[in-house]
């Protein structure tokens, strides 16, 4: 009992504080073990099944441990990865792939063409639970010869190779998973990427250790801890106090404040965009209303004043990094033109057109504030929009059932930059992600899905984007700029997909 005397407790308290104080890393020290305060949790180590598989915000963690079939450079372009060559035969009835030699799994066993084929076939299995199965199932009947793989094109999919750098496009270890089962794999995940998983505490952190046998450039930081800090205030405090060296996704004001102090920051446009869906119901069937709603929005002012400049105004669903971006398509800010269009339909400031706009609040930085500003701009020309706040889960359900309000804010990610995965799925009526059902647009898009001539395909998508802009079928707002805050001792290389990749970080 004497251990818990008042003096003893005082000693213990002092020891706690001393240990805590000395145990906390200082900002100025050279960084030995890199610590990243990440904004989202990693719910599962299975990158090919369930909601995690299609969650773009955790792909960076997966890419630290697993290799994708085809690697992706920081500008979204594809580069040789596990596959060093890929393509179709001349008549595009077969796919041909070459597997990199000398690659090993984290247990030292070789990664073979069998692993690649097994991963592709597993992804295409209708009962396997892969959400992208509808893409992977377009190729099959693979044959292996050494490190060469050939397969039949079962249904021509022009983006099949782009998907090999996108969601669920990971090469997984056949023998390891067959020996340990899916549960065993999730408990002790193994890949061929730059880092091995040393420790994983769900909802808390991951400790990664550089894999010495990695086929690519060796990561400079040999150990990396990724802490899941979902609250932005706590995340910023982690870096400010020196507990973490890198973090992302914080309010732009905080980013500017801290970057002006002891910390450093990089902010680069990423492949996510902010947009407003128009559902072709009620007043949105009137092209004058839609066109006026587009013309009345001053995107540049919104980016400058609300996002502190951390955004790039866009007029189509393509950003400059996407392959079908067309700078000549523009929908300039024109409030007087908006008033004229509304007047032609019998609306004015005194007799405004009324509809509901839905938005999330806090799901993306300043989402609600952006919509408030847009509603204010609309009011000035004769549009009275009522804001309805919803959760992102409700948005998905309403969109899948085509029951969104006439206008609805959303952020769309497309880290392979193909027009099918932006304009295509967002605007093609039969897609569960589209709420625009116009038959003329469906007629323009439908032939592009299987278009084998790449130049013709891209031109086709540009024409679709021009029609969408002319008819104001959607309101593209801006491309997001991702703020990354870091300690002076680390150099961060941002990736246009938004993935924070520790193996690209170096000591500065």
């Amino acid at each position: 009992m004497t251990d818990f005397s008042r003096r003893g407790l005082l000693k213990l308290s002092a020891a706690t504080i001393t240990l805590a104080a000395t145990g906390l890393p200082a900002l100025a020290q050279e960084i030995k073990d890199l610590v990243i305060a990440n904004n989202v949790n990693l719910p599962s180590w299975n990158p090919t099944v369930g909601t995690s598989a299609v969650n773009p915000t955790i792909q960076g963690i997966y890419q630290s441990v697993f290799d994708m079939f085809i690697a992706q450079d920081t500008d979204l372009s594809q580069t040789p990865g596990i596959l060093t060559k890929w393509g179709w035969n001349a008549d595009k009835t077969k796919v041909e792939m070459t597997v990199r030699e000398g690659v090993t799994w984290h247990d030292g066993t070789p990664l073979t063409a069998e692993d690649v084929v097994w991963s592709l076939e597993r992804a295409a299995d209708p009962d396997g639970g892969n959400p992208i199965q509808f893409i992977w199932s377009t190729i099959g009947n693979f044959e292996i010869s050494g490190n060469q793989i050939t397969g039949d094109v079962l249904r021509f999919e022009p983006t099949i190779f782009k998907w090999m750098s996108f969601l669920t496009g990971y090469v997984l270890p056949k023998a390891y998973i067959e020996a340990n089962g899916q549960d065993g794999f999730e408990a002790a995940p193994m890949g061929s990427g730059p880092y091995m998983v040393e420790k994983y505490e769900r909802n808390a952190f991951i400790r990664l250790k550089a894999y010495d046998g990695y086929w690519g450039d060796a990561p400079e930081f040999k150990t990396v801890t990724i802490k899941f800090v979902t609250d932005s205030a706590a995340r910023v405090a982690e870096v400010e106090s020196g507990n973490a060296h890198v973090t992302l996704e914080m309010p732009s004001e905080e980013f500017d404040r801290l970057r002006a102090g002891n910390l450093m920051g990089v902010a680069q446009p990423i492949s996510d965009i902010g947009m407003i869906f128009f559902n072709d119901i009620d007043v949105m069937k009137d092209p004058n209303v839609r066109r006026a709603a587009v013309k009345a929005v001053n995107k540049q002012a919104i980016v400058e004043r609300l996002l502190s400049g951390y955004g790039v105004p866009i007029d189509t669903l393509q950003t400059p990094e996407y392959s079908a971006y067309d700078a000549s398509i523009s929908t300039p800010y024109d409030p007087e033109g908006a008033k004229e269009l509304l007047a032609a339909s019998g609306y004015s400031i005194d007799n405004p057109v009324r509809f509901t706009i839905q938005t999330t609040r806090g799901f993306k930085p300043k989402d609600y504030e952006v919509i408030q500003a847009i509603v204010g701009l609309w009011r000035k020309v004769g549009i009275e929009a009522e804001i309805e706040v919803y959760e992102i889960a409700k948005h998905y359900e309403l969109r899948a059932t085509d029951t969104l309000a006439p206008a609805a804010f959303y952020n769309w990610g497309n880290s392979i930059g193909d027009p099918t995965t932006s304009t295509g799925f967002a605007m093609f009526g039969p897609s569960p992600h589209s709420v625009w059902d116009g038959e003329d647009l469906v007629g323009m898009i439908a032939p592009l899905w299987g278009e084998a001539d790449e130049a013709k395909r891209i031109d086709g998508w540009k024409a679709v984007d021009r029609k969408i802009a002319d008819d104001a079928l959607v309101l593209p707002l801006f491309q997001y700029v991702q703020p990354i805050l870091h300690a002076p001792g680390v150099k961060v290389v941002p990736h246009a997909s938004g993935a924070l990749l520790p193996h690209l970080m170096t000591r500065s």
Binding site: A15, T16, I17, L19, A20, A21, G23, L24, P43, S44, N46, V49, G50, T51, S52, A53, V54, P126, D127, G129, P131, I132, Q133, F134, I135, Q182, E186, E201, R202, N203, A204, F205, R207, T225, K227, F228, V229, T230, D231, A233, A234, A237, E238, N243, E391, A393, K394, Y396, E397, R399, A400, T401, T420, T421, G424, F425, A426, P430, P432, H433
Partner: protein
């Protein structure tokens, strides 16, 4: 016999409550907008893909059928499989429960210590400036919500004077040789004070943020009870016997005055566990509350159901324990 009858009655009522909670949570989370299948739909998914995913996760069956399957599973100890993690719900929630319990217990200890000290000091110095200061402190503590205390502590003890860890439950660099998830208790049992200190350093700020509002409530109620008791005849008699004021408060007044506070502490403990949801999120503490928020965001229906049922079990069990303790301590109830 009275105690046993009370216990059995409360046990039956507890079971009915749990069944009610199970029914409500099952149907309510399916009625509110936002379903997990819509969230995992890839771009370009067709009707067939949607049907395939629904069948894979069992959402192709009618609600009563789904409920029956779930209910049968529970009776067999199987709460289903989490949609996001593909892990059994039971192991997920039981794995996180110790973290939340340890945090709640630490917060409760802090609240009782702080609240008790303030109440005793206020009673000892009643009518003076000290009591006025304590009353103002209580008012502020009650008015400021726990998450704001949390933010203030992050600024004070995490950034300006970084003595405590801001996020997480334990430092990632530490290797834990534990067999249970009760890290705090097990580290003490194993005499691993290095880990224990690290755990306390992580828990201190969230626990204090949770404790402050409860401490204020305890201080107010206990002080009021003590004041009333101090006017009773047996306390006056003790004074006339020449006992010191401190002795009179601690030995004579406190044992009687503490009963209402004990009930309150029991009830508030359940609210304290509920309060961990926001605080755990703020401090990225790997407990049940943090998991609950992720489950709701991801519409992980089986996991939400499991967490709510577990919370309900905790609430009803604590209430049962409080009632029994009260009955044991109160002679009038004990003897019927």
């Amino acid at each position: 016999m009275t105690l046993i009858r009370t216990f059995l009655k409360r046990l039956v009522s507890m079971l009915i409550t749990l069944i009610g909670v199970a029914v409500i949570v099952f149907f309510v989370i399916r009625i509110v907008p936002g379903n997990p299948i819509a969230m995992m739909l890839p771009p370009g998914a067709g009707e067939e893909d949607i049907a395939r995913l629904k069948a894979l996760y069992g959402f192709d069956k009618t609600l009563p059928e789904q409920f029956l399957i779930w209910g049968k599973g529970i009776l067999a100890g199987d709460f289903g499989t989490s949609i996001t993690t593909r892990q059994p719900v039971m192991s997920l929630v039981l794995g996180r429960l110790p973290a939340t319990l340890e945090l709640s217990i630490m917060a409760l200890v802090m609240a009782v210590a702080l609240g008790g000290a303030l109440a005793l000091a206020g009673t000892r110095q009643r009518g003076g400036k000290t009591e006025a200061v304590i009353d103002v402190t209580n008012g502020i503590s009650l008015s400021v919500p726990d998450f704001l205390w949390g933010l203030l502590f992050i600024l004070l003890f995490g950034v300006l004077w970084p003595v405590f860890h801001i996020s997480g439950r334990v430092s990632p660099a530490l290797d834990l040789p534990f067999v249970t998830n009760f890290y705090l208790f097990e580290s003490l049992l194993r005499l691993r004070f290095d880990i224990w200190l690290d755990l306390v350093s992580h828990m201190f700020m969230p626990a204090l943020a949770l404790a402050i509002p409860l401490a204020a409530i305890i201080a107010q109620l206990l002080k009021q009870s003590l004041k009333e008791t101090m006017h009773l005849d047996y306390v006056t008699l003790a004074r006339t016997k020449g006992y010191s004021e401190t002795h009179v408060i601690l030995r004579e007044a406190l044992p009687n005055a503490i009963l209402p506070t004990l009930t309150l502490v029991g009830v508030q403990f359940t609210f304290l566990i509920g309060g961990t949801v926001i605080i755990e999120r703020l401090f990225s503490y790997e407990g049940l509350g943090n998991m609950a928020i992720d489950a709701v965001i991801n519409r992980d229906l089986p996991l939400i159901q499991g967490i709510v049922i577990l919370f309900a079990v905790i609430f009803t069990s604590v209430n049962l324990l409080v009632d029994l303790t009260y009955a044991l301590l109160n002679p009038r109830l004990r003897h019927g």
